[in-house]
Point group: C2
Chain length 127, copies 2
Amino acid sequence: MSSQGIVLFGHGARDPRWAEPFERLAARLRGAGESAPHVSLAFLELMTPPLDAAVAAQVAAGCTRVTVVPVFFGQGGHVRRDLPQLVDACRAAHPGVEIRCATAVGEDDGVLDAIARYCVDQLGSDA
Amino acid sequence: MSSQGIVLFGHGARDPRWAEPFERLAARLRGAGESAPHVSLAFLELMTPPLDAAVAAQVAAGCTRVTVVPVFFGQGGHVRRDLPQLVDACRAAHPGVEIRCATAVGEDDGVLDAIARYCVDQLGSDA
């Protein structure tokens, strides 16, 4: 398995069903075969594990590079203020590991295109 | 212009920059030319307008069918509990208008595929 890890970082919610798309996303990423990264979920609040625990588990599993992807639509306070502090704490805890942080998924053009297609499909349906 | 309206319903956040992807999504949907639906944003909290105001504005603009698309990743309490009540109130206020509600965008396979692609791209980059 790859020495790369990816942590899908979401807000968290009280209803456990909220996490289902995150689980499906993780399963897609794990399906890449030999080259698949280690994939973990982590949450800001209301769900576990928190980011530090998810990163520590990836490091313990041998990851030398961990990429945190904020599964948020926009770059609000959670992504701009809370997440950098959490990532810095992870870097301090694992100085030999490269820990990177991506931009929120909702800022990606490909993701926005897919959401726009979904919206148009909803209009066309008479169901 | 179409008599169809679409309302992109998001959670809302304190940081106004959080709404940027929603604005970009709305712009994409408005770019469909003559057949473009009326497109509005609405928010559960922390941002305006609320859903009832957005729907009322679409009805005032001549929409006879309004589709509410929850721009949420998962179907948690906000989508399962809060939103149906808000939509029911809109239906009661506009009995001659068909008001429909889609599933959260994060439940769509095409959206999840796009997010997965974005995640893989982050791994491959050395930036």
